[in-house]
């Protein structure tokens, strides 16, 4: 994830010795900043677990993706492509048997800190299975579900927590932007990618750039309506976006997409609506409404390839009416957020091939 930032900030210094030195210092700064962001989750761990994790070096923290706590199972720390196990003194061990085993009490205390000792205040979030905390990080929660008819009433007897570090990568969508703009307007865009390829990160940065305006491309900032059903894009914590989503962005937090898009349309008169992960039938009708109102739409969908996208009935429907002008395919061939392909959604012709994401 980090290379985005470095690449972007150093374009003007590239290929000189001066540039190399600069690159090193900037790289260190970026790494420290990343590490600090990740360390924010320490506030949500009880003292004994905090002690274990605090000792990890910044080089681990800056890449850290997840901390997993499961009752009576070893504490696991996930970095890209590998996992770390810690023993009771915070030392890295390789053997599962030596690792610190998380007690039920640890889990209860962590949950107390995560929810601010008030499960009732995060009722809705728990039903969805995760809680967003300060800094935009998210904590996934599983346990025993209590059903009320066919709807989850609440969760209890919690068995595992997953603390997921959220990072914003300013400039992640830099090289993508020229393809998404059409003079003073934004094209209807669908970002397609398998999980874990930086879909949300890219979408957030697109929203930020569109809202900010891009002087280099002569694009003035326009009003963005962000429908953030999973509180992931803006990372709202008590109603305040924890992520930079731009100065002209209105955030509708935790609202179902289909409903949210229509509310946005009526209430805030945006020029672009940004929303994560379309895929349900009701999303499509809302989408048509938005497009007919002359508002641009930028969204994402889960799929590994265009072919796979075509296999999903709802999405095939959307594609067959050819409303999306740009389809952006992401992958992780050069790290998360690699742009693999950009396709013109009207003609289905490939506009750009290979990486232009700068990973």
């Amino acid at each position: 994830m980090i290379p985005f930032g470095i690449h972007w900030e150093n374009r003007k210094y590239a290929y000189t010795q001066e540039g190399d030195k600069h690159l090193l210092t900037v790289k260190a700064q970026v790494l420290m900043r990343e590490s600090q962001t990740a360390r924010g989750i320490l506030n949500y761990l009880p003292p004994n677990l905090r002690g274990l994790l605090e000792g990890l070096p910044d080089s681990a923290w800056c890449h850290l993706e997840e901390v997993r706590l499961r009752v009576n199972r070893p504490i696991m720390i996930n970095l890209p492509g590998r996992e770390l196990l810690l023993d009771g003194r915070g030392q890295v061990v390789s053997n599962l048997a030596d690792a610190y085993s998380v007690s039920a009490d640890d889990l209860v205390r962590t949950l107390q800190l995560v929810t601010g000792s008030s499960l009732y205040a995060v009722e809705e979030e728990l039903r969805a299975g995760y809680v967003t905390v300060s800094g935009g990080h998210r904590v996934g929660v599983v346990g025993r579900t209590v059903m009320d008819g066919d709807r989850i009433q609440t969760l209890k007897q919690f068995t595992a927590l997953n603390l997921r570090i959220s990072r914003e990568v300013t400039g992640a969508a830099d090289s993508l932007m020229p393809y998404l703009l059409d003079r003073k307007r934004v094209r209807h865009t669908l970002i397609v990618s398998p999980p874990g390829c930086g879909k949300t990160t890219i979408l957030r940065d697109v929203a930020r750039q569109v809202s900010n305006g891009i002087p280099a491309l002569g694009f003035p900032g326009i009003t963005v309506g962000l429908v953030d059903e999973r509180s992931e894009l803006a990372g709202c914590y008590r109603g305040i976006p924890q992520r930079d989503v731009g100065p002209r962005t209105d955030v509708l937090d935790a609202c179902p997409k289909a409903l949210g898009m229509l509310i946005m349309l009526r209430a805030m008169a945006p020029q672009v609506i940004v929303s994560d992960e379309i895929g349900r039938t009701e999303d499509v009708s809302a989408l048509e409404e938005v497009i007919n109102a002359g508002v641009a739409i930028i969204s994402t969908a889960h799929a590994a390839s265009l072919e796979e996208l075509m296999h999903r009935p709802v999405l095939r429907n959307i594609l067959s009416i050819r409303v999306f002008e740009r389809l952006v395919m992401l992958g992780r061939s050069k790290g998360p957020g690699t742009v693999e392909k950009i396709v013109n959604g009207r003609t289905m012709q490939v506009i750009s091939n290979g990486d232009c994401g700068g990973a």
Binding site: L45, G116, S117, S118, L119, T154
Partner: protein, 172 residues
């Protein structure tokens, strides 16, 4: 001369003792009412605002007189200290500090203590049930305390002085 001064001291001391006891009988119903008010406010915070507990307790603590108000802010302070104390622990800790300050009896405090076991640990509907139950039980305690106060306040107020008077008469 000394006799008169001594007699006044005895009467004054005994009277003061009587007033103190009477005061305790008067204060218990008042504090029970404060506690009920506090729980009512907490109920509103939880039901309509879904305010996180620390914030809710802080809000409540500014609106009820001490020592109940101080108890609430103490719980909030413990919870926000950031070392992962559970509500039960924070509540219990604050309750220990509250005990010497209050005129509430152990039977009243057990109601309050019971609430600490469940506060914050379930969804909104469940929290409301627990809060309402605690308020009901405090109300019942309040009726008892009122009865006792009615019977005992006048009694102790007079008893102190008359007792002192009796003692001086015997000693003279």
């Amino acid at each position: 001369m000394y006799k008169i001064i001594g007699a006044m001291f005895v009467i004054g001391a005994a009277g003061f003792l009587g007033l103190t006891v009477a005061n305790a009988y008067q204060n218990r119903p008042r504090e029970l009412r404060d506690m009920q008010t506090a729980l009512h406010l907490l109920e509103t915070e939880i039901a309509y605002g879904a305010t996180p507990l620390v914030e809710a307790l802080d809000n409540v603590s500014t609106r009820v007189p001490s020592p109940v108000g101080r108890f609430m802010s103490e719980v909030a302070r413990e919870l926000s200290a950031g070392y992962g104390a559970t509500v039960r622990e924070a509540w219990g800790f604050a309750l220990n500090g509250f005990r010497p300050e209050t005129f509430l009896k152990e039977e009243d405090l057990s109601v309050v203590k019971g609430l600490g076991e469940v506060l914050g640990a379930s969804d909104r509907a469940d929290q409301l049930k627990h809060l309402r139950l605690a308020i009901e039980r405090l109300k019942a305690q309040g009726h008892k305390a009122d009865d006792e106060a009615k019977r005992n306040v006048k009694l102790w107020q007079c008893l102190g002085f008359t007792g002192g008077l009796a003692v001086t008469l015997i000693l003279i």
